[in-house]
Amino acid sequence: MTRFFDVAWAVAWRGIHNFVANPMFLLPAVIFPLFFFTAFAGGLSGIANIPGFDYAPGYTTFQFGFVIIQAAAFGGVFTGFSIAADFEYGFTRRLMLGAPNRFALIVGYAMVAMFRAVLVWTLLTIIALAVGVRFHGGVAEVVGLYTLAVLVNIAAVMFAAGVATRLRTMQAGPAMQMPVFLIIFLAPVYMPFDLLQGWIKEAARFNPLTLILELARDLLAGGPDYHWLGYVAVLGALAVFLGWAITGMRSAERAGS
């Protein structure tokens, strides 16, 4: 077990070092979520005037809930790019020689994704508080929100790892990014579910991310109702993608990568 975590920590340390030391990785990861928060909360603020928009904490808080979850998901996906790059350049092949349990590599990459996400969440939260976002719930709701985000982050990195370990090339980028992008934007991103209409409402109804986003916004608003099924949705996704990542790593082992 000690060996398992030694390997995971070594992979994580390298990934975190690369992430922090290279502005090409660091800046987009930090700037894009901030930019989305700014652009959506600022540019679409008029949506709060639509009859039926009844999210009490206001539109900026409404968008903050979305951006926290989005940063969690994309933090996981972008770490998948690093996994694919390490496979393509043969680095993982060498790593696998020294790792008795190869899933430790995936755990290491998940730790990188978590580090990225925590960094972005910290910055986002500081800026959000500065521009007037308030947590209307108590400590339990704050812990609940960030726990939800952590679970989304791990689910996303497991999904991306499953793709990266199967395709083992950087050209797998769109295959990791596009499904996550689509599932995010087929959820109630800009306005509450009840205000959606037409085909996108039907898509959002069957999209598990809808429950997750609604729960995040409920936790920010401090209730009174909570979409607790959001936790079930994210835990379900986590279970599925964990299996996807483990079988992906086995497929990479069989291929000798």
Binding site: P28, F35, A39, L44, G46, L182, M191, Q197, I200
Partner: protein, 268 residues
């Protein structure tokens, strides 16, 4: 005397040079589906997702139309221009790296002619994508308030915008000699689009700072000019602003790109 005539006969006219380069540029664009497909697919996906997600925005008091699709229709044209920019700059960056540009420098071809030839592929792509976006809108029920003549003006303006913005890509491509540098500019252009009146009319943007940024952002006026043809009809002010800004960007970018090409040729 006869030698001079013979030499002149051997030198192709500038128009012929442009045609040859344009042919190469168009073929190169057509042979790279990986660069063509995103220019059609991504703006179409954004159009579908955003018009679905923001459809109820038309219920905001004072919203200028009851169809968000009609309102948002202008955006894919600008996004298409953005993809064209990345393609144009990346292609020229590659030409610098592979020394194709250095070999061209040995010919008597003027730099502006090279620029026009290089942009032919992009303009063709922009023209086709504009027709595609317009067709998508018409299929899903958008009616142009400016009628059929408006459709031609819209496609003309979209192509002019693509030319202007692509020239910026070319300028960066020639200056840096790197396709990656042009790709790296993509987020910046993206920021320009997002911080504009792309999703909401400027008077309805509630946050003061955002409305001020959108008002100073030239992308707002390019979008509003195209939008006016769809939802308003013939709005002289919006069209004049859009055309003037597109022309100013085109003139500045073409001069910058030509100068960069001249410098590159001199160094060669």
């Amino acid at each position: 005397m006869s030698t001079a005539v013979a030499t002149a006969d051997l030198q192709p006219r500038v128009s012929e040079q442009i045609v040859q380069l344009a042919r190469r540029s168009i073929l190169r664009s057509l042979r790279q589906p990986a660069t063509i497909i995103p220019a059609f697919v991504f703006p179409t996906i954004f159009l579908a997702l955003n018009t679905g997600g923001l459809g109820q925005s038309t219920r905001i008091p004072g919203f200028p139309t009851d169809s968000y699709l009609a309102f948002y229709m202008s955006t894919p044209f600008i996004q298409g221009a953005l993809f064209a920019t990345i393609n144009a700059g990346s292609d020229l960056g590659k030409d610098v790296k592979t020394k194709f540009l250095s070999r061209l420098a040995l010919t008597p071809m003027p730099s502006w002619a090279l620029l026009v030839g290089q942009l032919a592929g992009v303009l063709t792509l922009s023209l086709v994508s504009s027709v595609w976006f317009l067709t998508i809108g018409l299929i899903f029920g958008v009616r142009l308030e400016s009628g059929i003549p408006g459709a031609f003006v819209l496609i003309g303006l979209a192509t002019l915008i693509a030319f202007a913005v692509s020239s910026i890509g070319v300028m960066i491509g020639v200056k840096t000699g790197s396709g990656e540098a042009v790709q790296g500019m993509f987020p910046l252009f993206f920021v320009f689009i997002f911080l504009s009146s792309v999703s909401m009319p400027r008077p309805l943007i509630e946050q003061d700072w955002f409305r001020i940024v959108a008002t100073w952002n030239p992308a707002s006026y390019l979008i509003e000019a195209i939008r006016s043809l769809v939802i308003t009809g013939w709005d002289g002010v919006a069209l004049a602003r859009g055309f003037i800004i597109a022309i100013v960007i085109a003139v500045l970018a073409v001069s910058g790109a030509t100068k960069a090409l001249r410098n590159r040729f001199t160094r060669t």
